[in-house]
């Protein structure tokens, strides 16, 4: 181990530079604060490192964590021994999941913030209201849409709550399979619209969105089309002169001081040197799995069970969503090709099945959207023959004649579903890995069944001649969405963070990713997370670091 000089103390240290760390870096450095961002992964450059190589990006995990170096383990219940499993292995690099994502960014709905008020106690679930409402977030949803770049058509989603501005960019034209979806929905009386997309089709903020390759979901984008914090917010933060980025550095502990505040973080750089970075404020934005892991690893005399964990709730109530879908095949002899592999992953979608309808046998609901069936090696085709003439025939027949309609399953929080430290499995540095304990709730299974069957109905209306519905068995972590492991709330006995995602126990520790979400919402969470990270960053610069008070009261 080499010795290096201790760096100067700063106002804010941010751990993890993905969607939310990138947002906090921009907002806080633009507010004039001195900020250091520490990222365990590399800083890849989109114009230099990214291209349409299916094998490299989808199969050999070039951008993703290596599951041998940093494994995760999963079990379904308390008495099982967790097995290594690449659960929700979101890319860990500068920009995080915004490097690879498809970029669905629908707005959450008013009901998402008040599930407990709406439904009371649901057996086996730990429903809780959020400590704020849609209206508190709306200005920040708009800021993200305009500053980060979201394409969509205002007014097209008739169920959307109030918005203060339309979108800054038009969506791409519909794909052929998207057109099938629109036509079927119109036949069935369903309100279909372009799913808001974290990408632009114009020169917003000087971007050059030339990528029309269809290498989209799971690939890095060499152009300026995809909204990625590594190409937007992080360069904007650097341009202030107030932000310093340290990539390939692994934070292993948030350090507590004697005064009840965190003093900063301890990290290991790429040369193996251990370095301490002091800061007035520590922000965790590693994603709800790794933020919880770091909190649990940060043990001190004050917090023997992990920092800010007097409630014992750090890691608990984890929710992950699951991507479920149905595939439809058309007949090459009769039908026109739908080119399921083409497009920037999403096209038309609907929110008509989002709000609770108890006649369906469950509470909540899901966003539904048509999406790409992907490229030849990894075509999304459950039951694709493994070998022989059947494999060749089905590839030849269906590659351009398949489409998919999927949904984001809104799983209910359960206290036993959680992230903790695996007692046996260690990462390459000898640190305990995150262990996931998760069992689906009956509501999750019922929701998945009804919604997937609805997808089949839309596919059949669209003219599909064979369908493959994919139902929920158990969570596989296939969405990379992570929430709930440090839930927000007003009562320090029942939550880890307050309404500003500030730890109840440690006033200068903030967790600005999905960890704070008391419930998962039924939409892709990144827009909500980033808007919340911006909102809480404003609190840090305008109130907390100025010594000013600001509290919300329990919303009605």
């Amino acid at each position: 181990m080499t010795n290096k000089q201790k760096p100067e103390a700063v106002d804010v240290v941010i751990v993890g530079l993905g969607a939310n760390g990138g947002t906090a870096a921009k907002v806080l450095s633009e507010a004039g604060l001195k900020v250091v961002g520490i990222e365990r992964g590399p800083w890849l450059k989109n114009d230099k490192h990214y291209s349409g190589d299916e094998l490299k990006f989808v199969n050999r995990n070039y951008m993703w964590p290596d599951s041998r170096l940093t494994p995760r383990t999963v079990r379904r219940s308390e008495n099982d021994v967790a097995e290594p499993y690449p659960f929700s292995m979101t890319p860990q690099l500068v920009g995080g999941g915004t490097n690879h994502w498809a970029g669905w960014v629908p707005r959450p709905r008013e009901s998402d913030f008040m599930l407990r008020s709406l439904h009371g106690d649901i057996e086996g679930a730990s429903l809780a209201d959020w400590p704020f409402r849609y209206d508190h977030l709306e200005p920040y949803l708009t800021k993200i849409e305009w500053e980060f770049g979201v394409s969509g058509i205002a007014g097209a989603d008739k169920t959307e709550p109030f918005r203060s501005k339309p979108y800054p960019s038009m969506p791409l034209p519909p794909t052929r399979w998207g057109k099938k979806f629109y036509d079927a929905c119109n036949t069935m009386g369903i309100n279909a619209f372009p799913i808001p997309h974290a990408s632009v089709t114009n020169n917003l903020k000087g971007r050059n969105p030339f990528n029309r390759t269809s290498f989209w979901n799971q690939y890095g984008d060499p152009s300026g089309a995809r909204s990625n914090t590594a190409t937007t917010f992080i360069p904007e933060a650097l341009a202030t002169g107030n932000f310093e980025l340290r990539s390939d550095c692994f934070v292993r502990e948030v350090k507590m001081g004697k005064n009840g505040k965190a003093t900063g973080v301890i990290y290991i750089d790429d040369d193996g040197a251990e370095i301490e970075q002091d800061a007035k404020v520590v922000i965790l934005t590693l994603g709800a799995i790794e933020s919880a892991r770091l909190m649990l690893m940060s043990k001190s005399p004050q917090f023997p069970d992990g920092i800010a964990n007097s409630s014992g709730l750090v890691g608990k109530n984890a929710t992950f969503h699951e991507y479920l879908f149905a595939i439809g095949f058309f007949d090459k002899e009769i039908d026109d090709p739908v080119y399921g592999w083409a497009g920037n992953y999403i096209s038309g979608g609907t929110m008509d099945f989002y709000e609770t309808d108890e006649s369906r046998g469950y509470i909540g609901g899901s966003i539904t959207a048509a999406s790409q069936t992907c490229h030849p090696i990894n075509m999304v085709f459950p039951g694709r023959p493994l070998w022989g003439q059947a494999l060749k025939d089905s590839d030849r027949t269906f590659f351009s004649y398949a489409m998919k309609i999927g949904l984001i399953l809104h799983d209910l929080p359960q206290e036993a579903n959680r992230v903790d430290l695996d007692p046996n499995v260690k990462d390459y540095m000898g640190l305990p890995v995150a262990r996931i304990t998760h069992k689906a709730h009956a509501n999750d299974i019922a929701m998945g069944k009804w919604q997937v069957d609805k997808n089949v109905e839309i596919l059949e209306t669209a003219g599909a001649r064979k369908t493959i519905p994919v139902y929920l068995d158990q969570m596989t972590g296939n969405t990379c969405h992570q929430h709930g492991t440090a839930r927000m709330g007003f009562d320090p006995a029942k939550s880890v963070l307050n309404e500003w995602c500030q730890a109840h126990d440690v006033e200068n520790l903030f967790v600005l990713d999905g960890s704070g979400f008391p419930t998962a919402t039924g939409v892709n969470p990144t827009l909500t997370m980033m808007a919340n990270a911006w909102r809480c960053s404003d609190f840090i610069s305008d109130y907390y670091l100025k010594g000013r008070e600001m509290r919300l009261s329990q919303p009605k």
Partner: protein, 245 residues
């Protein structure tokens, strides 16, 4: 240790016509080539044999030089540090899985037919593959049915796979991957499924390769989304200001 961001480009795209193994023995090469030819057989379209899948697999198993092509496809990335360490371990395990798998296939072939796998006729080869896989030969996929499934983790990675699923996955990868890796010679697999993929990886980095023609050209948002016509707050968009049509 250098960051992943700084890995150098080494070597050149793999020559699909090479007959010089870097990893397999000559006999192993022949067995794998014969297995691949039954996994994606040749008919009126080329199969794994013509696409040179055996070259793809041989290069992959030869070490860690052929794991990641450089972004522009001019060569391969030279891994470093912990990633090199991890990939060496992964490839080393796969080498052993393949060596043993090939021994098992040839032993089963000799036991049943008295000849090595590569010397059998196609039906006998299929019979050995059914035995090795422990499952019937996959049946063709037909229209007119609904076939439910449950969530699964699609095997996109080969980490820890036994011989048979690893081989089937690698044959599919070699057949359909960008030709820089040694298979999919002359993009023949893409032609078979009528996928007009990029001529080079570089073409996907600068806008040269475009699939814009696979989108719908003749559309109006007002027709696709009837509620737009009723709402008053925002203008109904006409054909958009999309650049790069």
């Amino acid at each position: 240790m250098s960051s992943k961001a700084d890995w150098k480009t080494i070597l050149e795209p793999v020559d699909p016509d090479s007959n010089e193994p870097l990893f397999f023995s000559r006999d192993e090469w022949n067995t794998v080539e014969a297995l691949a030819a039954r996994i994606i057989p040749t008919d009126h379209d080329p199969g794994a044999k013509e696409a040179r899948v055996v070259v793809f697999i041989d290069r992959y198993l030869s070490g860690i030089n052929y794991v990641f092509a450089s972004a522009d496809g001019s060569g391969f990335l030279e891994m470093d540090g912990k990633h090199a360490y991890s990939w060496r371990a992964r490839i080393s395990e796969l080498q052993q899985v393949y060596r043993q798998g090939i021994v098992d296939v040839d032993a089963a072939s000799r036991e049943t037919y008295g000849k090595n796998f590569a010397d059998l006729d196609a039906d006998s080869q299929d019979a050995i593959m059914i035995k090795i896989s422990g499952k019937p030969k996959p049946a063709s996929v037909n229209l007119g049915t609904t076939e439910p499934s449950t969530t699964f983790f699609q095997f996109s990675s080969d980490d820890g796979l036994p011989f048979w699923p690893a081989l089937c996955l690698h044959v599919k990868q070699g057949f359909y991957a960008d030709p820089v890796y040694g298979g999919n010679k002359d993009r023949m697999a893409w032609k078979m499924i009528e996928f007009d993929g990029p001529k080079s990886l570089k073409d996907t980095m600068d806008g040269t390769y475009s699939t814009a023609d696979k989108f719908v050209d003749d559309y109006s948002w007002g027709d696709l989304i009837p509620v737009l016509q009723a709402q008053k707050e925002y203008p109904v968009p006409a054909k958009s200001d999309i650049i790069y049509k």
